[in-house]
Subunit: 463 residues, 2 copies
């Protein structure tokens, strides 16, 4: 067993230097993004850490391959963070990591700087205390996760050999609940699109033209209102095509999860939920696809009939749904709508991410389960699905042929993407212990990974 | 007949000084607003022009009462302008009045600096050439018209005696079409409100919570979609209460107006219109009330279920509709909607303006018709209604007991409130000639106003 005997304050202090770099991928200057990337590079000297330029923010790469014949894992994470949102909603400076009781608050604390920091400390402890890691480890930290990883696909395709691994372990992606260890065996896919309704060629005065021209807002609302049935089902023909009916076995599994739906909703300030009829809350969350309008925008509080109205829509997909088929179904649905005096267009974003699953009996799941059980003795490890989407896993499967294990010590309630993001401090230490065990278990023992003999040597950097 | 023999260039030059003051009531500093007000004061020395402070931007007042026993008119206008909108959409500097062929372009050129300038030039010409005006004239120019005249009501109520007049003549409000003299015999009323739909107490990640909580955007769209029937009628029970059926006579009158609906819509970039079934385009525009959603706003193009969604709604009212009754009908409609997982609120703004009408046989209409006929010989003067709302007229009727005559030489197509606002230069000279005739006709002859003997002396300023 490694010894992690630094006190919490020193961990927080070191992590605070990283959080202090405001690496907001949407807004920050290249210099700021590079500073965050270099903070990581400085901690990856043992793995020849270095920056690789892309058309966007650079990628941090590293590789330590000191154990011949051992399996290789690729650690994924990101050094960029979300914008802070409304500054006045933060109780402390977003970029000064601040201890507040049992948590540390700051932008990126839990998404994804804290979780990545854990991995770096574990690697360092192995090297300091044992002189080597238990298996071969590669690192890939990107700077564009929060803006949809626009250049990651090309990067992974281009550097396949360099990135080749038997398993990807993601330090990104949160556990479901703070008091219950869980592993994700799947995540939903994602489609994003804009519905654009256009009327006149210019905004019109609503007094002088109201009542004689179609109002694009009225039309947009009518279309949006028609996207769901009153019972919550998506009203787009073909939307659910390809999805297997939920088996009784899975229903029973989900029903057995200890979960207080009313408390869950209450924590959001809600007295009742709303979702697709015929499914329990957890079934809706884990097993069913969704179509949500994330934004609407048109005109304003003045006397106008805006010439255009836009709704931003996203769909979360489940296994069985083919993203392009869902796009076709949506386009057909929209094309069949005819409203007088307006033009209607559905602009679907190019990224089309299918749902992702890992078999519950994949060795990595077994190893991760054992690792978590060693850190949380007596707790049952929940095999959950992430209702969210983690686009990189699709790339890793497609280009590297490797499954991804989510092994983050972030928790879903830690205000990811919101003001006052925080991470529980105790999770740093729990995470280090768990990663240590995971690496050991993946290297040896009943759940060890079997290195692919076909995999090319990854020693040739720069391919 | 007065002589207006300055050349156009000198008129434009003088008006340009006024346009150069960026008196945007929504944004400008008090000093800028005051500068615009003082530009007017400087031209009202003959009428003891002065500023009166209010809780908002000051009001410019003036009074010339040199003809004992003559009727008194109160001239209304405003010195504030709309924001410029997108600067890059302007082809020239918004605050440099620029001649471009037959028009002069600049913010406020036609709304309302040009039309007010006309009145000032006419008064000056009377004094220079005849030593007096044909009737007694008071002036009231406000600085908050473009932000809804929030302090005008209190001001008029407080200064009733000082403002007392036999007729208000508004230099604000545009004629319908550039090539056809017209007079307005009515304008629509106005209600404004916000429909607010609220879900959770915070924005939620649409991946992690989508499908299990109600989405306020979906609910908002469903409510908005339910505000109209598919045939364009407002679906709020009681909305049309109190409105007289359109008489055959009025239908015939409107049908007789020379109007090319297809060209009208084509000029807006539309191939078809859309409005309440059973009414022609002009009937919809002039005679029927409307409910338009002017704005919607919620969330954005990111993975969120926003905790709140807002629609800005306005209703234009016609004679017979009682504003408070319409508010009650809307509140009842909204209260009867029950959607799971969201709270719905309709916040109605305090200003509730009923429709306004002047009898077509009011002496001021007859005088104005004759004045326009003298300037546009051979043209028929159209008695139109303004589909828009001019809130001050309601105040003048309520507090001063005086009807308002709209006598502006602005035209509705001159991009009021939009980038590249302009005014036709020839309308300056036409307007001066018309105002001269109007004042003469209101003072003497068959259409003269009869001064109210009951009206208090207005010599006591400061009441």
């Amino acid at each position: 067993m490694l010894i992690f005997d630094a006190d919490d304050a020193s961990y927080v202090r070191e992590l605070a230097d990283y959080v202090a770099i405001p690496s907001v991928s949407r807004d920050a200057t290249p210099a700021v993004m590079k500073a965050a990337a270099e903070w990581l590079v400085d901690r990856l000297t043992f793995a020849n850490g270095h920056l690789v330029e892309t058309e966007g923010h650079p990628v941090v790469m590293g590789e330590w391959s000191g154990v011949e014949g051992a399996p290789t894992v690729l650690i994924y994470g990101h050094y960029d963070v979300q914008p802070i949102g409304q500054r006045e909603e933060w109780t402390t400076d977003p970029f000064s990591l601040t201890v507040d009781g049992e948590v540390m608050r700051g932008r990126g604390a839990t998404d994804d700087k804290g979780p990545v920091y854990i991995v770096l400390k574990v690697a360092q402890a192995f090297l300091d205390q044992e002189g080597c890691l238990p298996l071969n480890v590669k690192f890939l930290f990107e700077g564009e996760e929060e803006i949809g990883s626009p250049h990651l696909s090309a990067f992974v395709a281009e550097h396949k050999a360099m990135l080749a691994a038997d398993l990807v372990i993601s330090a990104d992606g949160a556990m479901w609940r703070p008091d219950e260890p869980s592993l994700s065996i799947g995540s939903k896919g994602l489609l994003s699109m804009d519905l654009v309704v256009t009327g006149a060629h210019d905004d019109l005065h609503s007094g002088r033209y109201g009542g004689v021209v179609a109002n694009p807002i009225h039309a947009l609302c009518e279309i949006v209102a028609g996207l769901h049935h009153p019972d919550g089902r998506v009203a787009v023909a073909g939307f659910y095509d390809g999805i297997d009916a939920l088996s009784d076995e899975r229903r029973q599994e989900i029903a057995a999860v200890s979960f207080d739906g009313q408390a869950f909703l209450g924590s959001l300030g809600l007295q009742e939920g709303f979702g697709e009829a015929g499914y329990s809350l957890l079934e809706q969350l884990w097993e069913r696809p969704t179509l949500e309008v994330n934004g609407v925008r048109a005109g304003g509080k003045y006397t106008v009939i805006p010439h255009t109205a836009v709704a931003n829509i996203s769909c979360r997909l489940v296994p069985g749904q083919e993203p392009n088929a869902v796009v076709d179904a949506l386009q057909t649905h929209i094309e069949e709508i005819s409203l007088p005096g307006v033009a209607i267009e559905l602009k679907v974003d190019p990224a089309r991410i299918p749902a992702y699953t890992v078999d519950a009996d994949h060795p990595a799941i077994a190893a991760a389960k054992a690792a978590l059980e060693s850190v949380y003795p007596g707790e049952e490890v929940l095999l959950a699905k992430i209702a969210g989407t983690l686009p990189p896993v699709t790339l890793f499967e497609e280009f590297l042929g490797a499954k991804t294990l989510f092994f983050s010590f972030s928790t879903a309630d830690e205000r990811l993407h919101a003001p006052n993001e925080y991470m529980r401090i105790r999770r740093l230490r729990e995470g280090m212990r768990a990663w240590e065990q995971l690496w050991r278990l993946l290297a040896t023992g009943p759940h060890r990974l079997h290195p692919s003999p076909a995999r090319e040597s990854s020693a040739k950097h720069g391919d």
